[in-house]
Amino acid sequence: MLWYKAWLETRWRFLIGLAVLLVFACGAVFDYPAIARLNASVSAIDAPGNLGRLIREAAETQRTYRGFIWFQWYRQNLVQMWTILAVLLGSGGLLAASSRAALFALSMPASRTRVAGVRAATALMELLVLALVPSLLIPLLSPAVGQHYGLGDTAVHSASLFLAGSVFFSLAFLLSAVFDDFWRPMLITCAVALSQTLVGALVGLPFSGMLRVMSAESYFRSGQVPWVGLGLALTVGLLMLYAAVAVVERRDF
């Protein structure tokens, strides 16, 4: 019943997120013909400095369908929305946005570790589905616009997003074990996520940290799965989950 409870607690965030992502995935595919036409004219634009370089690079990448999907979906839409969902699902943790509910769960003959563990596991499974299922729509729908997208690429990119991005879930989860409200974990984690991804991208640094790992950029460019980055993110994420459970075990409610 703990699983059912965790499902009830997270289901709307999950279902709405899934619906939105599915729509955006369709959008990505069906936008391709229009974007392809636009791209042809963009590469001729001569804008100065960093911004100009970024625009030209973007156009260059999106010349191929694979590049387009990678750029629009795995590096932009999916990453952004999925990360938000990871933070949303991580916030609220054991407290389920209300300490009234927490006291009831705590009065059950179940260890706190189990209650928190089930909550985390449920959310992580939902996040895996959110990374994979909308992405699967792309190879499915691509033929409709006369294109092809490989299942192998889908698998690698979705997995990378999930494994690396779950670190944000873990951070939100840890923060909700420490803070009693819903907002602080969410805002702090969002701030961290933004700084790790957006900052790098805006400044145009070669190392944009998390974003590169989550979008498996090295795999896209040269077939190199970012094992180190993934390993690091996973380790940090697991450590934070472990810490979250430890906090929950020891604190007063």
Partner: protein, 299 residues
């Protein structure tokens, strides 16, 4: 003497610079309905939370069924046989009544379906209604149902009838009374409502500023506590020192000397006779007055 169902020894709890419990020692025996009286902030909720493993004591011991309440593993075992109804009636707002029942029943193999049907009826609860839309009375009813259907040996309730109208209040009290069917069931409830403690409790523990002040059978309190009023012809003697035990407070007002005694009224009367009072009145003391006296409120 059999082992107490609940026992605390010199229990202390400090959060930040607040000393919620400052050496609380109490026992609750099996088969009793024990009322836990105390002012707001006296430490009642803290005590209950420690017993349930929701908080850890700063020092001292708390035991339920003889096991340490601050040990996580033991606490899970304790909760297999305990039902808790918290002050805000904690429940999962996003679940329906029947989902709450199914959730709770999943943890308690001895779930009483007969009582479930009975209390759904008594409190007027329909299975498909979401918990967050329940009125206060129905919410309490559901919390009580979930507590009683577990067939638990011990019920711990924090202000069970707060905010309830008299009719629902009475239904809750009746449910508690019928739960104490045999010597195996115990009820430990904190309350502000002195009248309801007087009605259903057979023992009372009073807590004030983190310590137990009074712990006795209710009938003993009724039979032992007396207010003795001596009236004198001239000014009453200045606070005489009584050798007899049981003198809680002596106050003097003009020609009247009043003694509050927690026992041994006869001996006190005998001791005061030589002072030559014109009249002696021995009056019973209500539980409310005993409570106010023990929590330092001037009577």
């Amino acid at each position: 003497m059999p082992e107490p169902i609940i026992e605390t020894v010199a229990l202390r709890k400090t959060y930040g610079d607040v000393d919620a419990l400052r050496g609380l020692t109490l026992q609750v025996q099996a088969g009793s309905i024990c009322g836990f009286l105390g002012r707001n902030g006296a430490g009642k909720t803290t005590t209950l939370k420690i017993l349930l493993g929701m908080m850890r004591p700063t020092s001292g011991e708390a035991r339920v069924f003889g096991r340490r309440a601050d040990d996580s593993t033991a606490s899970v075992e304790i909760r297999r046989d305990v039902a808790f109804v918290g002050e805000d009636k904690p429940l999962f707002d996003y679940m329906t009544v029947s989902e709450m029942v199914r959730f709770t029943a999943a943890f308690y193999p001895r779930w009483r379906r007969d009582l479930e049907r009975h209390y759904l009826g008594i409190f007027g609860l329909s299975p498909a209604v979401k918990v967050k839309t329940l009125s206060r009375g129905m919410r309490t009813g559901l919390a009580v149902l979930l507590a009683l259907c577990r067939d638990a040996r011990l019920l711990i309730l924090d202000e069970p009838t707060s905010g309830l109208d008299p009719a629902v209040s009475e239904q809750v009290l009746q449910a508690l009374v019928s739960h104490v069917a045999s010597a195996e069931m115990t009820v430990f409830f904190s309350s502000h409502h002195i009248a309801e403690v007087e009605q259903i409790a057979d023992r009372v523990v009073m807590i004030d500023r983190g310590r137990a002040t009074v712990a006795a059978a209710l009938d003993d309190l009724r039979e032992q506590y007396r207010r003795i009023r001596f009236v004198f012809d001239d000014d009453a003697p200045a606070a005489p020192v009584f050798r007899a035990e049981g003198v809680e407070r002596v106050s003097r007002d003009g020609r009247v000397l009043t003694v509050l005694a927690s026992g041994g009224a006869e001996r006190i009367v005998e001791e005061a006779r030589p002072l030559g009072p014109v009249s002696i009145d021995v009056i019973p003391v209500s539980l409310k007055e005993i409570f106010l006296e023990s929590s330092g409120v001037e009577g």
